[in-house]
C-alpha cells in the first residue's frame, strides 16, 4: 500500500484551511448532526438553499417550501442555469469564490441528495477547469471541489482498483454451459483494470490532474441516472471543446462496415468541408468567460484515464433507455468530435470505442419499429 505521509497530511491541512475560511450560514447544530433522518436532511437542504440565496441573484420561492428541497434544487432549471452562468465567469474558479465554497460545503454535508446537486455541476466545473488550466487563471476553487469528489470516491472504494475479469467462453458460466471439462478456474481469465487503485491527494499536482478529474467523472457516471438531462448536455458540449475538433466531417458516418465506400462518398462531397463554427455552441463553450476564438481553443490532452470515463458517460448519453432527443443530438456531436480527435492522436482504443458508438447511434436511429412482442393482426380471431 502506498502511504505517502506528506500528501495525506497536506490533505488534512488543505481541508482545514478550506473549512476555516468558509463563512457558512449553516448553524452549528446542523453540521454536527450526522443523522440521516428525513427532517434533519430537510433542514440541511434548507440551510444550504439559504446560503445559496446569498450567492445567486434570485431563487424560486418554491424551493424552500418544497417537501424535498434537495431534489427540487437538483431539478430546478432556473437555479441551475444561474449557477452555470456564474461558473463560467472568468473569476469563477478562484480560491475565494463564494460559489465554489458553497459547492464544496454542500458536497461535504454528506447528504446524498445534496451531493447529487454538486455532482450535477461537475460537467461545467471539470469543463471550465480543464480548459482553463493552460490560461493561468486562478482555479483553486474548482480544485477544492474536484478534490472533495476525488476524496469521496477514494473513501467509498476504500482506495481499491476497479477490475474486470474478462470472461472466456471455454469456462461454463451463469448463462452458458460448455462440454469441455472445467480446467483450473483461474486460467484464461484476463484481468483488466478499469480504474487503478486510488491514493489520497491533498492538492492537485499537475501530473495527476487528469486522474483526479477522471475519478470525479467516474463518480458522476455512477450516479448518472439521477442527473438531469441538462447536466449531461453540458457534459457533451464540453467534450467537443476538449476534443478540439468539431468532427463535422464524420456527421454522416455510415453505419456500414465498409470504410472505402464512405471514403469515396466523402471524396465526392469533398471540397465543401470547411470547419464550421457553431456560433451558438461556441458562445456557451467559451468556458473561460471570453468567447472562445475558433475551434480547438479549449483542446486539452486526453490521456486514457480521462478519456475512458468520458466515453462511458457518452455511451450512456447515446444509448441509455428512454432517451431525450436533444441529448442524443449533443452526444453524437460530442462523439464525432472525439472520433476526429482520436484519429488525430491515432489512438487505437479510442478510435475503436468512438467508431463503435457512432455506428451504434446510426443503427439506433435507423432502427425500425419491428416489435417481437406485438401480436399479429389476423382476419380470423379464434381461441
Amino acid at each position: 500500500m502506498s502511504n505517502d505521509p506528506s500528501t495525506s497530511s497536506t490533505a488534512e491541512d488543505h481541508q482545514d484551511t478550506i473549512s476555516s475560511t468558509t463563512t457558512t450560514t449553516t448553524t452549528p447544530t446542523i453540521t454536527t448532526s450526522a443523522s440521516s433522518d428525513h427532517s434533519s436532511s430537510r433542514s440541511k437542504a434548507q440551510s444550504t438553499i439559504q446560503s445559496l440565496s446569498t450567492i445567486l441573484p434570485s431563487l424560486p420561492p418554491s424551493l424552500a417550501s418544497s417537501s424535498n428541497p434537495s431534489r427540487s434544487l437538483l431539478h430546478d432549471h432556473h437555479t441551475a442555469s444561474n449557477i452555470s452562468s456564474l461558473l463560467r465567469l472568468p473569476d469563477s474558479g478562484a480560491g475565494d469564490n463564494n460559489l465554489c465554497r458553497w459547492l464544496y460545503d454542500t458536497f461535504q454535508s454528506s447528504d446524498n441528495d445534496l451531493q447529487l446537486v454538486v455532482l450535477r455541476f461537475l460537467p461545467i466545473i471539470a469543463g471550465v477547469y480543464l480548459s482553463r488550466v493552460s490560461l493561468r487563471i486562478p482555479i483553486a476553487g474548482f480544485e477544492a471541489v474536484l478534490l472533495a469528489l476525488y476524496a469521496h470516491e477514494t473513501t467509498t472504494r476504500a482506495s481499491q482498483a476497479i477490475t474486470v475479469n474478462v470472461p472466456d467462453l471455454s469456462h461454463p458460466s451463469l448463462y452458458h454451459e460448455t462440454k469441455a471439462p472445467i480446467k483450473n478456474n483461474s486460467t484464461g481469465l484476463n484481468l483488466a483494470v478499469i480504474s487503478p487503485s486510488l491514493e489520497p491527494y491533498g492538492t492537485v499536482r499537475s501530473t495527476r490532474r487528469a486522474r483526479i478529474v477522471g475519478v470525479a467523472l467516474e463518480l458522476y457516471y455512477s450516479k448518472i441516472c439521477e442527473m438531469p438531462v441538462q447536466s449531461k448536455i453540458e457534459f457533451c458540449e464540453f467534450c467537443r471543446v476538449w476534443a478540439g475538433q468539431d468532427g463535422e466531417m464524420y456527421k454522416e458516418m455510415t453505419g456500414s462496415s465498409s470504410g472505402s465506400s464512405s471514403t469515396n462518398k466523402r471524396k465526392e462531397e469533398g471540397g465543401k468541408c470547411e470547419v464550421q463554427e457553431d456560433g451558438n455552441d461556441e458562445n456557451k463553450e467559451g468556458g473561460s468567460g471570453k468567447a472562445a476564438v475558433g475551434v480547438g481553443m479549449g483542446r486539452i490532452p486526453l490521456p486514457w484515464e480521462l478519456l475512458q470515463p468520458v466515453l462511458r458517460i457518452l455511451g450512456h448519453c447515446l444509448l441509455c433507455p428512454n432517451q431525450n432527443k436533444e441529448l442524443i443530438d449533443k452526444a453524437s456531436k460530442a462523439c464525432t468530435s472525439l472520433y476526429a480527435r482520436s484519429m488525430h492522436d491515432i489512438n487505437p482504443k479510442a478510435i475503436l470505442a468512438t467508431r463503435s458508438l457512432l455506428r451504434l447511434t446510426n443503427t439506433a436511429a435507423k432502427d425500425d419499429i419491428f416489435d417481437p412482442t406485438e401480436i399479429p393482426k389476423s382476419r380470423v380471431i379464434s381461441i
Partner: protein
Amino acid sequence: MLTWSSGVKVVMHCKLSVEWIRDRDKGEICEQRAREQIVVNQSMESGEYEEGMEVEFSANGNSMKATEVQAKLDEGNIQEAESSLREGLSLNFEEARALLGKLEYQRGNLEGALRVFDGIDLQAAIERLQPNLAEKTPSKKGRSRSDSQHTVPQHAATLVLDAIYLKAKSLQKLGRLKEAANECNNVLDAVEKIFHQGIPDAQVDGRLQETVSQSVELLPELWKQAGYPQEAISAYRRALLSQWNLDNDCCARIQKGFAVFLLYSGVEAGPPSLGAQVEGSYVPKNNLEEAILLLMILLRKLSLGKTKWDSSLMEHLTFALSLCNQTFVLAKQLEEIMPGVYHRVDRWNSLALCYCGAGQNQEALNLLRKSLHKHERPEELMALLLAAKICSEDSYVAAEGVGYAQRAISNAQGLDEHLKGVGLRLLGLCLGKQAKVSSSDFERSRLQSEALKSLNEAINLEPNNSDLAFELGVHYAEHRNLDTALRYAKKFIDQTGGCLIKGWRLLALVLSAQQRFSEAHVVTDAALDETAKWEQGPLLRLKAKLKISESLPMDAIETYRNLLALVQAQRKSFGPLRISLQVEDDKVNEFEVWHGLSDLYSSLSYWKDAEICLSKARELKQHSAETLHAEGVIFEGQGQIQEALAAYIDCLLLEPCYVPCKILIAALLSKMGSTALPVARSLLSDALRIDPSNRKAWYYLGMIHRDDGRIGDAIDCFQAASMLEESDPIESFSSVL
C-alpha cells in the same frame, strides 16, 4: 389449406432465405429481409389481415362475422356483444370475453379492450388452473410427474394467459407502463404456478408458448420504459435464468437487450443472486463483465448459425472491450467471426487497431501491409496513418513509414483534409527516425532537415496540438538548436498545463544543455512538486545527474539513495493493479540506478563502492554492455589496462554498436603507439557514424590527428568537440521520448 397465393409465398420465402445467406455481409438488408420473412410466416399462419378487411370469429368449428359484434361494442354494450358471441359460437363466458378483448385490441380500441378484460376474474381463473398439490407430491416414479403435467388444461391456460398478456399490451400502449409491467409479471407468475417443472419441451401448444415467450420478452422492456431499472434487471435475469423454453431468436433478443442495458443504462446491476450461481462456473460481478459475457455468448451463437447476423453485437463488444483495455481479446473475437461477414480489408484494419491497442505493433503492421496493398485499399486513410505511426516508433521500418505518411498526406483531401496535419507530423517523425540509422552524413542531414520541415508544416496546420510542440522541441534539441527547443518545451508545458512528466524533463534537459544548471534544477524541483511520489523516478535520476554536472557528488549520491529507496518500494508494492499508464512509462528500473551510482563512484575514484554497485547491477542483468563498460572503466581507473581493454572488447562483442566502448578502446589504443593509431581512428569514425554528436569521439579523434601531425584536422575536431560540449545535455534528448 394451402392456396395458390400462399404457395407462391412459400417459394418466395425459400428464395429469400437463399439470398439472405448470400448477402450476409450486407447486414442491414438481410435483417430487413429476415423481418419480411417473419411477417410472411405470420400472415401465412393466421390468414392475412389488411386494413379495412372484414374480420370474423371462429371457434368450435363455427365462424361468424364480427361486424355485428363490433357495432354492439361501439355502443358500449359489452354484455350484449358477449352474449351474441356465446350464442353464435357456443362459447363460455371467459372464451367470449377473450375473443372480444382481442377484437378490441386489434381494432386499436385499447380502453375498450381493458373494459372487456376487466370483466374476467383472471386471478380466479389462474387458481383454478393450478395443479392440485395433494395430487402432485406423492409421485415417486418419474412418469407420474409428467402425467400430472398433462393434466393441466392447456386450452384454458392459453386463454387466460393470452387475456392477461393482451391486457398488459393494452396498458403499455396507453402509457400505463407500471400497470402493464404488473400484468405481464402476472403472466409469468401464473406460468410458474401452473407448470411447476418449468415449461416442458414439446408438450405445450404453440400458442401458449408464444404468449409465454412474448411475456418474458416484454416484461423487462416495460420496466425499462417505466423507469424501474432494478426491476428491469431482475426481469432480465428471470428471463434468462429460468426455464421458459424460449426459441433461439427470442433468447438472443433478450440477451442483447440485457447486455445493452448493462452497458449503457448507468445502473449497477450487482451480482446475480446466489441461487443462480453454479459451483465452478463463471459468475460476472459487475455490469461490464456480465455484458461482455452475454455479448460473447451471442457472438458464439452467431458463428454457430443459431441466430441471424447482427452487426451491432460486435460494435457493443468493441466498445466494452476497448474501455477495458482488452483489445487483444477483441481481436480474438474478431478472428472468430465467420468469413464473409466483414470485408477482409475492414477485418484487417479493425484487427490492426486491436493489436496496436494491445501493444502488438508488429502484428498490426503486418495486417496493415496486407490491407494497404495496391490490390486492396491502398488509399484508406486510417490504415495509412496507423501504419505510419507504428513505423515512426521503430527506426528499422521508418523508411516504410515515410511512404505511408506521404500517401496519407496526398489522400487527405476533401472531408479528410483535417488529417493532413497528422500525416505531416508522422512524416516528420518517420524521417527523423530514419535519419538515426542512415549510413551517410549527407543522407542523415537531408533526412533531418526534411523531418523538421514537415513537422513545421504540421504545426502550422495544427497550432494547438501539444504533441507536435513536444516533438518539435525534441527534434530541435537533437539538432542542438537549443533556443528554439526551449521555446517549444515551454509551449508544451503551457499547453498541457504541465500534466506530463516528459515535458518537464525535456525543459530541464534543454536547460542543462545550455549549461544553465541552476535553472534546470529549479525546473526539476518544480516538476517533483507536481508529481506524486511514485512517479518521481525519472526526475530524481535527472536531479542526480544535474548534481554531478554541478560538481556536487555528495548531493548526487544522496539523490541516488532516495531513488533507490523509491525503486525498491515500487518493486515491493507494484501489484498488477497499481499501474497507471503514466507510471508504467516512467518507471525507473533498478538496474539503471545501480549502474548510475557505480559510474558516479568510479568518477570519484571510490573503486570499492563502484564495484559493489556494479555487482548489484549485474545481479539484475547478467550480460549487458553497460555493466561491461562500467567494469572496464573501473579497471582502467585502477591502471589495469589489459583487463579494461578485455572488458571493452567483450562489450563490443555483445553489442557491436555500443558507442562509449568504441571510444574508450580507441582512447586506449591511441596511447599505445603509432601502430595502433589507424585502428583507433577507424573505431572513432565508426562511433561518429552512429552518434555524430558525441563530443568525446570528436575529442579523441582530434588527439589522434594531432599525434599523426595533421594539425588542421585536429583543430576541426577539437572545435567540434568543444561546441558540442557547450550544448551537451545531461541525458540524451531521445530519452524523453
